[in-house]
């Protein structure tokens, strides 16, 4: 039933944390976890000289961390230098977004600004990740591809909303926007936590990797499979490398990888990919929770009012003022769209 690719399977482990800034708790609590989180992250990066980690496709987590250092009266300079060094070395991956919005609920302008600001901050930090990181969005809007492509993004990672006709289900596809723009997209059919905490349970690490690869490989269009080593609010990067180095797999080559390397590996195999078009709102394989679109309407109404005032009034007025020699304020985005 499934096409078998002969030879070695490349299993890419991507270590990450999915940082829900304001989802099950608000920033009063989640921001307090940032200093211990970054402490353990730096410790890991120092201990393992090749360790690489994805900071959830956003830069706000870094901004919040710096802010938290300041609040606690710590010498933020040394931590900032350290963080930028790792970003420059490509070991800490930040951006491309400023924050992780619900793409269905904020305006088109907000989505563009989210990337513009993410790019600006990412460049200042030493470079940003050029893939779309839509791990847990509750469904995907139709113009996702075009918006990303205009920012020179190389590929997308997404999960919820995707639907394909069984048995022709693949972990890779070409996603097309209404204007015909296409991007190579990775469908996380085994979620964004299918290899979480490998190192924490060393005794079953080998078995877990083999089982997971066996499970997802039949859906792969290339010899590559994805092992996502992280989860929501993961506070400690997974210390799996020492144990992994001791293991031998007869037909799987397992290594730590990055989202950009994974997209590259897929493209290099030039697979023939199926095309999915437009918005992806199917709840058939994994829930998209349409009910949340009308939950806490007072927050949504407030967001809409603020967006309108910024986009249709404050910004045009700011531009008119700039044309007359005044100041132009270019950052109308809300951190609470996260």
């Amino acid at each position: 039933m499934f096409k078998k690719v002969s030879g070695i399977i490349n299993a890419h482990i991507i270590s990450h944390t999915h940082w829900d800034r304001e989802w099950f708790l608000n920033i009063k609590y989640t921001n307090e976890w940032l200093i211990p989180f970054f402490d353990s992250l730096f410790k890991m990066l120092e201990k393992e000289s090749n360790y690489r980690f994805v900071l959830d496709g956003q830069t706000l987590i870094v901004e919040d961390y710096f802010d938290q250092l300041k609040r606690q009266g710590k010498n933020s300079g040394q931590y900032k230098r350290k963080l930028k060094q790792y970003v420059r070395e490509g070991r800490l991956l930040v951006g491309p977004y400023y924050l992780q919005p619900d793409w269905q609920l904020v305006s088109g302008e907000s989505l563009i600004r989210n990337l513009l600001i993410g790019y600006k901050i990412g460049e200042k930090l030493g470079g940003l990740m050029k893939v779309g990181w839509l791990l847990d969005n509750f469904g995907q809007i139709s113009q996702t591809v075009q918006i990303h492509k205009k920012f020179n993004i190389k590929g997308l990672f997404l999960w919820r909303g995707v639907e394909m006709e069984s048995p022709r289900i693949n972990s890779e596809f070409l996603w097309e926007s209404p204007d015909g723009t296409r991007l190579t997209s990775i469908y996380l059919l085994s979620s964004y936590r299918n290899a979480m905490r490998l190192g924490e349970y060393k005794e079953i690490m080998k078995e877990r990797i083999e089982n997971e690869v066996r499970k997802i490989y039949p859906f792969a269009t290339t010899p590559n499979v994805l092992l996502m080593n992280g989860y929501d609010q993961e506070m400690t990067p997974d210390d799996f490398l020492p144990e992994l180095n001791k293991l031998f797999f007869p037909d799987i080559q397992v290594k730590q990888s990055t989202p950009e390397e994974y997209i590259e590996a897929i493209k290099k195999s030039s697979p023939k990919l199926r095309v999915l078009k437009g918005s992806l709102y199917s709840g058939r394989f994994i829930s998209v929770f349409p009910g949340i679109l009308s939950a806490r309407m007072y927050l949504k109404c407030m967001n809409d009012t603020c967006q309108r005032k910024l986009e249709k009034y404050a910004e045009p007025l700011s531009v008119i003022s700039w044309l007359n020699g005044g100041k132009y304020n270019r950052e109308p985005i809300f951190t609470n769209q996260n």
């Binding site: 305006s107 088109g108 809007i141 139709s142 113009q143 918005s279 829930s287």
Partner: protein
């Protein structure tokens, strides 16, 4: 403006005794009947999903007598205030299978306004949410029988099946 009728060059709006409205669209020559009916059912879902309970009771404003009051009437604008009170179950029962027998007043006020030169009807609705575990909806039946609809989204207009 006559009794319970607001009108301009585009629309004629008749306000019915139960608080719903009928609209005569003068441009497209068609009528919409009984818009703005309120309907309420239980919600036995969680923080993510709506779910109907095992035994639902649907309560509507179909047989309500609303209080209708003209609050503004000028050459520029007419505003009508429609107040009604539904009797809604105060919550689900403890097993979350039925609606409670205990009822509470659930007040709803609608301000409907029409400006002299505009084809747009403005609604402002205020409810006092006095009960739990429910889903309140307002119905605007178009009478259009279709399998799909178009919706505005970020930089696009999407065609979606109405059952999705």
């Amino acid at each position: 403006m006559e009794e319970n009728i607001i009108e301009n060059q585009y629309l004629q709006i008749k306000i019915n005794k139960k608080g719903s409205i009928n609209i005569w669209d003068k441009v497209n020559k068609c009528e919409y009947k009984d818009l703005n009916i309120i309907t309420d059912g239980a919600d036995a879902g969680d923080e993510y999903n709506y779910s109907f309970p095992e035994n639902d009771i649907i309560i509507t404003s179909e047989n309500i007598k609303a209080e209708i009051e003209v609050v503004e009437k000028s050459f520029l604008k007419a505003v009508v205030k429609i107040s009604l009170i539904l009797q809604l179950p105060e919550s689900l029962t403890d097993d979350r299978k039925n609606r409670s027998k205990k009822l509470r007043d659930f007040p709803i006020i609608n301000w409907i306004s029409l400006e002299a030169e505009s084809p747009i009807i403005n609604f402002r609705t205020v409810v006092k949410n006095t009960v739990k575990d429910h889903r309140l909806r307002v119905l605007f039946p178009t009478g259009i029988d279709t399998k799909y609809s178009f919706a505005g989204t970020q930089f696009d207009v999407t065609n979606s099946s109405k059952h999705n």
